[in-house]
Amino acid sequence: MTSIPTLCGQKILLIEDEWLIADFISAMLEDMECTVSGPVATVVDALTAIAAGNIDCALLDANLNGECSAPIADALVAKGIPFIVVTGYGGLDLATETMNTAARLGKPFLEADLRRSLELALNKPVLK
């Protein structure tokens, strides 16, 4: 699969509590020539990273080791940063409306899924 120029150099913040998964997704993003920011495993770290800026898009795990990631989603929306909720909850309701209406990528996923989600998120910024 050839990389798509649009994703090249995009700075993606990866928020994922489990190292094995974070490592795996980072590898995929790097294959897509994205620059991985993080990954971060906690809400605090995520908010710090967001505050630091320089992020094009974020991949957000809905559950960070039992902690709800809704504040992160709110911060992302506030910043106008598009994000994709990456979750094992599938189609189930999430904690907040912001999370529910955001683009969602169900675990496990293929690289193509991730790419399409990112392309959609980046071309079509989430409106607040």
Partner: protein, 1183 residues
């Protein structure tokens, strides 16, 4: 028939004339009664033997619309057969007969007749009617008894009984419940005995055993009595009772015989002795002997004839102001006199004439007169009259009596007069003397007829009873109606010899011609006295009818009894002259004058006697004889000379004259004395008159008071009448009520005898109508227990009201209620027991009770709180579960508003449910409410409500169940959470597997290598997951984790696990730790201590609390393996370990590749990765 025997008078005995019943006829007792009669009649019948020798007929006022039970009731009282009368039934001896309702009972020749009453209801007099027919059927064997009752029925009939010679008995009013009937009878003066009912049987038996009744032929008594009767008549006359000498002996004998019976005497001598000693009996006898019957318009045909032939022409002829004079001798109660008065009034009014009507009604008996003056008659006497006559001439003074109106009374003048002794009246237009002659001896009859003739003016009428005629005096009267005994007086000039000791001379009066005008009269009189000669008017028989002028010169009364014969009166010498003149005048029909002479004191004197015929207005022919002294010389050819009588007679005449003068002188003196006496008497009379007038005024005042009182009494009576009607209605209502319902009722008297019962009683007692009056104790009750008799006694004696439930043998249940029987005046007259059938009620009650228990059980067994509210949302019932849920006492909350429960936690939601939703829907299901109770607990409740419409028996209600769904809701939320969590973990795990596969692929050069690495890691992950699941995704014991992680590599003794403190890892951390251990073990197997059999691995851990945050410190120490060198290039596994520890555990790992064996130290903070012992509780709850 005794009286048949008067051929002279041609009498035909009828009912008016008392006869007597034959020997084979037995006495009949008529018993008249009304209110209260049953009891008295029972007492009377009880006292009579079965063979009394009489028959009894009971006549009672009965409700015409009701069947009478009288016969049935009376048959219990006597052994005599008691029969209800039927038409045509013949009377039998020793029987009791009872009238049927709504019929008039009569008896004729021993046969009962039932006829429809002619009068309207209330005007009927069944007792009177029967008594009258009984009197005519049984004569002296008729016995009438008046018992208790209201009104006056029977009184009129008693008179007929008495008249027929029968016996009249009245109940003693003091013993009668209603004493009006006996009292009226007694007042009527015809009652022979006044007795208490129990004394009547003896009196009856004694009466019928007397020879007066039992002897075969009463007429034979007369000769037997013989002189005794004369003795009694003389005695009566002397005692001043009455002179009966001229009365028929047969009638008198029979009535005396009857009185003897009443006095229980058989011997006349004894009776005479009694009379001498007993003034009362003497009076009673006198009264009985004079008994007379009259009635209004008795024999209506005769009265019709009188009206048409006498009254109508009489009134027609009269001019206004003319007198019409009528005499009714022996008037008795005055009915006849009043009848005539009515006819006269009717006719004079018809012709618009005001006539001076005077009716003289006379009688010898004072009691008759006083009764007649009162003019009060029982209804039975007058109600048969024509209605217009009744209302025109009578006023009703009470229910039973009528009084003749004032207008009639004032023209009838009552006066005492003994026809046979006292002077008669005169110048009468009509004499009505009915039914008197039949009682008199023939000589007395003749005298009465002569009197009547005297009393009547010429052409006046005589009205006799239908059994009477003018007989031998037929020449004095002409027949107007032979059939109806109406006669006209003729030949007034002929006067039969009458002798009355005290008869004043009223002849001048009687014969004074009626003057037409006073002035003409005076003129004629003057002329006549101045110019007319002394004259006399004589009839053809030379009887002087009138004297005119001074006739003493020519006429003189001879010695001896006074005479009116002119020839006897004529002075000596004139007889021949008069006879000649009269004869010639009569035969030649012209005036004849004859000369004669008399010898007065002065010498011979010539006298001219003239005679001429005079024809009266009524066609009667008389002769006028005039005398003139002979001063003139008569040359008329028709003058007849009569030779003078012997002159020698003069001497005698002068002597006679002297004697006469002396006598006259004496008479004048006597007259003057008498005159003085009369003047004194007159003064006395005047003063007496004044007194009488005063008395009269007082009487008038009293009368007015009495009338006012009477008015009041009438009013009260009318009210009582209405009350009776109302009572009748109420009685009917009550009867229908009691008969119509199913409540068995029995009335007992104070002796616990049955008084009455309703038909419904038949399930409790076997009673029939005949059982009324029998003791209730004699009847077997058809139910168990109840104690009716004791309760009834208690009710009647102590006024106790009691109730009990009884069960019949048939299994029906009754509520028995016993209470005192109160009369209208609040006396206790026994007890009333009612039995209400409650069988159904009890069955329904049992069913209801069972259903109630059933529903209560349901309510109790339901774990959901259940409330019953009424329409106003107040709690009616609450289940125990409700009590538990809200921690309140059910009993306290009953009646409370639902909104008030638990300080009003329900209010807003309940209002929505109960006030908005429920009125629109019959039911509301699963209405969810979340509330915080007063104690602060949040509860999820689900409510179910049902509206139950009320009806007549049950008010509307609301059923409300409240289900606590707090736990269920939490479970659902947890479940949803779990599903999410499961999905999350599964997907995460799969992603981890994906990552592991990716990692393994990168670190492998061959597929074999990949497979081995991937399998090992996947296995480690699975093992760790097993433990996570075993720990319910909550915690994993480190010891187990280590065991499971190293087990695939284990060979005995190679692992030395030194126990550290127990540590519970969080699931995420446990997975990381397990994967790290797997990498350690894999490396040890590939390169480290486990690659040789002698190598061992020691594992130990501790909690290091030296730092600010407590750390978990885990050591992996290898030994005994091949010599160790630090790897040049960091391997895939090592990189994973390092990154995992820092990223996920926030810890550090130190790898020491010592030559004796690798040693790894893993440190990470406790707080985020492990479960602290104090956390466990919270964790367990929050999960």
């Amino acid at each position: 028939m005794t009286e048949a025997a008067n051929p002279t008078l041609g009498l035909t005995p009828k009912n008016d004339e008392p006869g007597s019943a034959g020997p084979d006829v037995f006495p009949i007792v008529g018993i008249g009664m009304s209110a209260g009669g049953l009891e008295v009649a029972s007492a009377l019948l009880r006292g009579l033997p079965i063979d009394s020798g009489m028959a009894f007929v009971i006549v009672q006022h009965l409700d015409p619309t009701r069947e009478s039970l009288l016969a049935e009731l009376l048959s219990r009282e006597t052994k005599m057969p008691v029969v209800q009368v039927q038409d045509g039934m013949s009377v039998e001896l020793n029987h009791v007969y009872v009238i049927v309702p709504a019929k008039t009972l009569l008896i004729e020749d021993g046969i009962f007749r039932l006829v429809e009453p002619a009068e309207r209801r209330g005007m009927r007099h069944p007792i009177d009617k029967f008594f009258t027919s009984l009197a005519s059927d049984r004569k002296q064997k008729a016995i009438a008894i008046i018992l208790t009752g209201a009104g006056s029925n029977g009184t009129a009939g008693l008179v007929d009984i008495k008249q027929a010679g029968g016996l009249c008995i009245a109940q003693d009013p003091t013993t009668a419940t209603f004493n009006s009937m006996p009292r009226h009878a007694i007042d009527s003066d015809v009652i022979d005995y006044v007795l208490a009912p129990e004394d009547m049987p003896a009196a009856l038996l004694q009466y019928v055993q007397h020879s007066y009744i039992s002897d075969a032929k009463p007429e034979q008594i007369e000769p037997a009595l013989g002189d005794g009767v004369e003795e009694i008549i003389t005695f009566l006359q002397k005692s001043g009772i009455h002179d009966f000498r001229q009365y028929k002996r047969a009638t008198l004998s029979r009535r005396i015989h009857r009185r003897m019976n009443l006095c229980h005497l058989e011997s006349l001598a004894d009776y005479v002795a009694l009379l001498e000693n007993n003034r009362e009996e003497l009076k009673a006898l006198g009264k009985d002997l004079m008994i007379n019957v009259t009635a209004f318009f008795r024999d209506s045909d005769a009265w019709k004839a009188l009206e048409n032939d006498v009254i109508a022409p009489m009134v027609d002829r009269a001019v206004s102001g003319d007198p019409i004079r009528v005499w009714v001798p022996a008037c008795s109660n005055g009915a006849e006199a009043y009848s005539i008065a009515m006819l006269l009034i009717e006719h004079s009014e018809l012709l618009g004439k005001t006539l001076n009507i005077k009716i003289f009604a006379t009688d010898a008996a004072d009691n008759h007169l006083s009764a007649a003056r009162k003019a009060i008659f029982p209804g039975s006497m007058v109600e048969g009259l024509a209605t217009d006559r009744l209302s025109r001439f009578f006023e009703k003074i009470d229910d039973n009596y009528y009084r003749v109106r004032q207008s009639v009374r004032e023209i009838v003048i009552f006066a005492p007069q003994d026809l046979l002794q006292d002077p008669p009246y005169s110048r009468m237009d009509l004499v009505s003397c009915r039914n008197l002659l039949i009682y008199l001896q023939p000589s007395a009859q003749a005298k009465v007829l002569a009197l009547a003739h005297f009393a009547l003016r010429e052409g006046g009428f005589l009205f006799l009873g239908n059994a009477e005629t003018t007989g031998s005096h037929g020449n004095l009267f002409t027949e107007v109606s032979k059939k109806h005994r109406i006669y006209r007086c003729i030949d007034k000039a002929r006067r039969p010899a009458l002798s009355f000791p005290d008869w004043p001379n009223r002849l001048d009066d009687a014969q004074r011609p009626r003057s037409t005008s006073p002035i003409a009269d005076i003129a004629v009189k003057a002329l006549a006295s101045h110019y007319a000669p002394a004259s006399v008017l004589i009839d053809r028989n030379y009887q002087v009818l009138h004297f005119h002028g001074l006739t003493e010169e020519f006429l003189a009364q001879p010695a001896g009894s006074p005479t009116m014969d002119l020839l006897a009166l004529a002075r000596h010498g004139l007889q021949m002259t008069i006879r000649t003149a009269v004869q010639k005048a009569t035969s030649e029909d012209k005036k004849i004058t004859v000369q004669s002479s008399i010898k007065p004191v002065g010498g011979q004197q010539a006298v001219f006697v003239s005679a001429c015929k005079v024809t009266g207005a009524d066609g009667s022919v008389n002769i006028l004889v005039s005398f003139e002294r002979g001063s003139r010389t008569n040359t008329q050819s028709d003058l007849t000379k009569v030779l003078p009588e012997d002159v020698n007679l003069r001497q005698d005449v002068e002597e006679v004259l002297r004697a006469a003068r002396a006598e006259m002188q004496e008479t004048v003196e006597q007259y003057e004395t008498t005159n003085e006496e009369l003047t004194a008497a007159n003064e006395e009379v005047t003063s007496v008159n004044e007194e009488l007038q005063a008395t009269n005024e007082e009487l008038e005042a009293s009368k007015e008071e009495l009338q006012a009182l009477n008015e009041e009494l009438s009013t009260i009576n009318a009210q009582l009448d209405r009350k009776i009607v109302e009572l009748g209605d109420v009685h009917d209502d009550l009867k229908n009520l009691l008969m119509g319902n199913d409540v068995a009722t029995i009335f007992l008297d104070t002796d616990m005898h049955i008084k009455w019962f309703t038909p419904a009683i038949d399930t409790l007692f076997s009673l029939r109508n005949e059982d009324i009056g029998r003791p209730i104790a004699n009847f077997a009750q058809m139910f168990v227990g109840g104690g009716l008799l004791e309760k009834a006694n208690a009710a009647a004696v102590d006024l106790v009201i009691s109730e009990a439930e009884v069960e019949t043998y048939a299994g029906q249940h009754y509520r028995m209620r016993v209470l005192p029987y109160r009369t209208y005046d609040n006396k206790i007259a026994g007890a009333v027991a009612t039995f209400v059938d409650i069988t159904d009620l009890k069955r329904h009650h049992a069913v209801t009770e069972a259903q109630k228990q059933f529903s209560a059980a349901i309510v109790e067994s339901v774990r959901t709180p259940l409330l019953v509210l009424d329409a106003k949302l107040r709690i009616q019932m609450a289940s125990a579960a409700f009590e538990n849920m809200f921690d309140i006492e059910v009993e306290e909350s009953v009646g409370e508003m639902i909104y008030d429960v638990d300080a009003g936690v329900f209010v807003p939601e309940l209002r929505v449910l109960l006030e908005d939703m429920l009125p629109k829907h019959e039911k509301v299901d699963d209405f969810e409410v979340q509330l915080t109770t007063a104690s602060g607990v949040v509860k999820d409740l689900s409510m179910y409500a049902r509206r139950i419409e009320g009806d007549a028996n049950r008010p509307a209600a609301i059923l409300l169940t409240i289900e606590d769904v707090t736990d269920r809701k939490a479970d659902i939320r947890h479940q949803e959470l779990m599903i999410g969590e499961l999905s999350h973990r599964v997907k995460n795990t799969l992603t981890v597997v994906q990552s592991i596969a990716n990692q393994s692929r990168r670190g492998s050069n061959t597929l074999e290598q990949f497979t081995q690495a991937f399998d090992g890691r996947l296995h480690a992950l699975a093992s760790a997951n097993d433990l996570v699941i075993a720990g319910s995704w909550k915690s994993v014991d480190l010891r187990h984790l280590v065991d499971r992680a190293v087990r695939p590599f284990a060979q005995s003794g190679q692992f030395v696990i030194v126990d550290g403190p127990p540590v519970d890892l969080r699931p995420q951390a446990s997975l990381t730790v397990a994967m790290i251990l797997h990498e350690f073990a894999t490396n040890a197997t590939k390169y480290g201590a486990l690659s040789s059999k002698a190598g061992t691995v020691s594992i130990t851990w501790r909690i290091d609390r030296d730092d600010s945050t407590p750390h978990f410190c885990f050591e992996w120490t290898e030994s005994g393996g091949p010599a160790v060198t630090a790897p040049i290039k960091q391997g895939q596994g090592t990189r994973f370990i390092e990154r995992s520890v820092t990223y996920e555990l926030k810890g550090t790992i130190t790898l020491d590749f010592a030559p004796g064996g690798m040693r790894a130290i893993l440190k990470f903070p406790l707080t985020e990765t492990t479960i602290q012992p104090h956390d466990k509780k919270i964790e367990g709850k929050a999960a």
